[in-house]
Symmetry: D2
Subunit: 355 residues, 4 copies
């Protein structure tokens, strides 16, 4: 059995982890932490059936880190840096669902997240946990930086183009996300009456932090030096052949992300070549599936699954390719991918608990 | 022109008042107050078009009360007691949308709302502003206690029965309300992800404060001494021939209330008699309409209008009558009814701005 | 391995069965039928990932009935009578998700469903598949009549009272159901714009067919002769100590049922006794859980699970008990319960694939 | 008084027209037609209060065309051609809400709509009814082609750029529309369970018919020869300096359109210049409002109003301008704009009934 610890278990990603791990053949919960609900049991925080309802919640300081073989850190960014280090020191493997270990470059991290990184050695060690890109490294890793939800959809949607060297100029990712992506803390923006019957763009252009991950990973596959910079410090990205303009929208649904991505294909690149590149890259992937020509991705293709669905629409008479990519933001965009990474790290079947 | 002041203008009832008054031929806004947004303009609080967006917000202490002919008080209960008195003293007519002046009995008020009433003389003067019951008194009033949203649907749904002396024993009101009824302050319960794709009963039985209004008004029409008491002090209501069990539910819609009400008709009372009683009472009413036999009320019958729609379903082989009554909680259940009351108080056509 | 056939696989219950069976350790799909989509594969009808997307759909006449050990019939009522008989004749065990085998009395069936029953012998043999009531019979059965969604919530919510002999007079079940309960055929009533931001009562009183099941099962536990009759033929139910008034409402959510049930407890029956009766009946049940005093059931307690959650609210100063019971209409109210029944029939762990 | 006839009154645009005209000081309904509901009254088709509920519905052939001063045609495309001509012949002014008179070029019309145009003279006479572009012509017109919902948001969002000669290359309009845009006929795509908790792109690229209007109107302002061609006949548009890629998405809300539009500004064009161009064009407009720098349009800015809200986001370090434009698809995108056009045609205050 794998003994599991979850830091920050009382958000939506913690809840989702518990649902997935409840179906996992070899996982068993060792401990859960929650600073705001320590001393309560999980059922006092979420309306869930037993036995999960009866699991106790501890303050992080009281959790026995050494009692876990694998730790999932579901803490806010910046707050995960030290606890992740502590869990590793206690001998656990760690999947960090925060943004703290995703950017390889500490300067870039500080530019986007506004705080210095206190664990540069671990930052260097961490593997970006997108199995479709880094499966081999994940298998040997102690520390996985689980990708952001938006980046999962955009990177999977564009990677075959990046590898083909076909990403050039401005790439537009118009993404729509369910409200669970904003977490469980109430705010005016996520108040039912404000979000329902509405759709709101936010942090559009080059202002959202997830841009940094997208350009790091797509840039690496393009063979380019790329480095997204936060909005107010426009990029040094002269070396990068492409630049992402990213527009997240808050969508009145609980879960799911749809990214509608617009790419100008270089002259001479054919539909057949592009389709072949996607087929080749994703042929053996257990959790990516390509839609037939003429089909587009919708949330219904992937919600409540660990899948990413990808549709390709070539616009006649133009160089534009529209990629539609959908995922469940809490599963492939967070907790499902985290378990997929755990499975890989621990030598298990990658799909355990996920199909 | 009627100069209008709105106290506590930055909630949903304030927004709705501004929409309705914007279509009203003789109303013009004199001032708006908001303690939390004083110094801002209305458009910084709500995404509305000009010219409403440009209206300034004042702290209550800075508003020139004497510049208003009519004041709408949209303050929380308890907080409205003193400002209402101040507005009256400054010479305005007042429509209070809080619960502070709805219950005639100060002891009953304190039992349900947990604070003493500091304006007993005004409490005695206030008229319960349900035009279908108290039109004559409203016309001459200085101070109107605007009814609660749930009570509006339940009292209108049952009044013909109360007047007929047909309310006996336990009356069950199973009500469903849109989330705007809970106000604009974010909370976990009204967080989109929690309320969406869900329905939640709350304060069911005899625990919700609106019970007091319902029994006061229905009891008066029954000719009975009635007095709802808060849940933990079970009623002295031996004298009342009926008792309401009231179950509000939080419904995943923005606005609207549907009350499904179950009454056991006394033996010998016929469907024809009951239908006739409803027709008689509501024949000339501008904002109540009866559905045809076989029809039931839904939110779509009334949302975005000042109407109450009522359907009567007689259950074959049983003494049970099911009354379905729907209103828009922000219009007939709050701001529309408030304007209807203003129209009556000021000698205007009752439907001004409302049709 | 258990070879599974699904008749009428392209509705929401078929989709849900495929999801559940995909996690079931010993189930494998033998064939799926669909009259309207025969010749297509499942992925052309629903946006699902492989391998389910690739499953072929056959006309019923072309399915090899003998290739299935267990057949789930997801056909409309009346249409299931003959195919169920054929599947049994071919040697399969059958779980019928339609209403065709739920009512023991053929006359009662014809009264409610408007067609005669052509398989009276099988009707007599069929077991009503609510494991909490009939587990022993289910284990030995060839043919299970899977309960209706509303009845599952109401019968589980009231059975301890029925067994205690405490159901008397009028019992009111005010139920709210997600739109998937209406099936996948488009209609004006289920058109997004009509159902969204709305709630609609329908077939209220004693008009909905599910009443017959509720009274059959609760009556049997009450030790009474009970027999609901359709609305226009008011009941002979003089012998029955209670009568259900049932008001379904169409709720703007995809899935889930909440039943708010009002019972007048006989004099002298105490809260402690009643709570003990519920605890006793459901103590060992894998899929029913009781909420703590003060808690009420919501959809969030059970959606996407096979659980029924039950809350008990005793109304102070009145004889009224409010039972709140929630289920997922597609899981415990249909496909999950069907698999639970299959597990019992086949000697498997009752919870296989369901936790 | 203006006597109003509505052809095809039982869709959502007809309902909305009746709501707006009910508040209009000089409009009175002369007749309503509906082929499918002729002989019924309006209240049997929509759950509305009296007196609208009591309006009778006639077959088109039975309507007395001469009894109307203004006719609104809410018929499907192709079906409006002849009735519009008949209404004009009977002496009425006509606002056609279908697509039949929007495209000036009959060949282009046939290419997109698949049928020939039988009224070429009227096609030449018709004025495209976007008051912000064609107010002077509208004032003198007999026949107005009321713009499509998507085009209203995109054309208003881009017109200042077109006039400045700043639209070049590929312009991407990623639009999200509420489901009422799809009409009231039930279909699988608009079935509640399919559309709720989902978002679906459809007809993306250069496949949607509204593209033709967008390019006609924006092209004219650019001073260019432009002519969108349907998807399978890629354009002859060599002369046009820009090309729109248009991606509509079905959004799980009842009403509202948000268009997120991506433009590459020509080198040297400054933010200040662009903002000034928008301010200049829309300064005196009663129904267009510009958001402050830093703000983006959402549905809440315009739903239930006749406004278009426009936000401008300049992406630092890139030539990209993101225009967010929102409207209510049934009001500014259909019936509100139709009344605005009627007001202009008839010499009334343009805002009558609309504020």
């Amino acid at each position: 059995m794998l003994r599991i610890g979850i830091m920050g278990a009382t958000g939506y990603t913690g809840l989702e982890l518990l649902k997935i791990l409840g179906r996992h053949p070899v996982a068993q919960i060792a401990w859960l932490t929650s600073e705001s609900n320590a001393g309560q049991c999980f059922g006092q925080v979420f309306p869930v059936p037993p036995p999960v309802a009866d699991l106790p919640l501890f303050a992080l300081a009281e959790a026995d880190l050494s009692a876990a073989d694998v730790v999932f850190a579901c803490l806010p960014h910046a707050a995960a840096q030290a606890p992740v280090a502590a869990a590793l020191a206690a001998g656990a493997r760690v999947v960090d669902l925060s943004a703290d270990y995703r950017l390889h470059d500490a300067t870039n991290y500080q530019a986007w997240y506004g705080v210095p990184h206190t664990q540069p050695a671990l930052l260097a060690e961490a593997v970006y946990g997108l199995p479709e890109l880094h499966r081999t490294q994940i298998k040997g890793a102690r520390l996985i930086a689980n990708p952001g939800c938006y980046p999962t959809s955009v990177i999977l949607g564009l990677s075959p183009l990046a590898r083909g060297g076909w990403l050039k100029g401005t790439v537009i990712a118009d993404s729509k996300s369910g409200v669970s992506g904003a977490g469980r803390s109430p705010s005016l923006k996520t108040h039912f009456v404000e979000a329902n019957e509405n759709i709101s763009p936010y942090s559009i252009g080059r202002a959202h932090r997830h841009l940094a991950e997208m350009e790091q990973e797509l840039g690496a596959q393009s063979g380019a030096q790329s480095g997204a910079q936060s909005g107010d410090e426009p990029g040094q990205g002269a070396e990068s052949p492409f630049q992402v303009v990213f527009s997240p929208h808050l969508l009145p649904v609980n879960r799911g992300i749809l990214s509608t991505i617009y790419v100008n294909l270089p002259e001479g690149v054919t539909e057949a070549e592009v389709r072949e590149a996607y087929r080749t890259m994703y042929a053996g992937e257990p959790f990516v599936y390509l839609l037939r020509p003429g089909e587009v991705a919708t949330l219904n293709h992937t919600v409540n699954t660990n899948f990413c669905a990808i549709g390709l629409t070539f616009v006649p008479g133009t160089p534009t390719l529209i990629v539609t990519a959908s995922i469940d933001n809490l599963i492939k965009g967070a907790s499902g991918q985290a378990v997929q990474n755990m499975n890989l790290m621990c030598g298990l079947d990658e799909t355990c608990g996920l199909k």
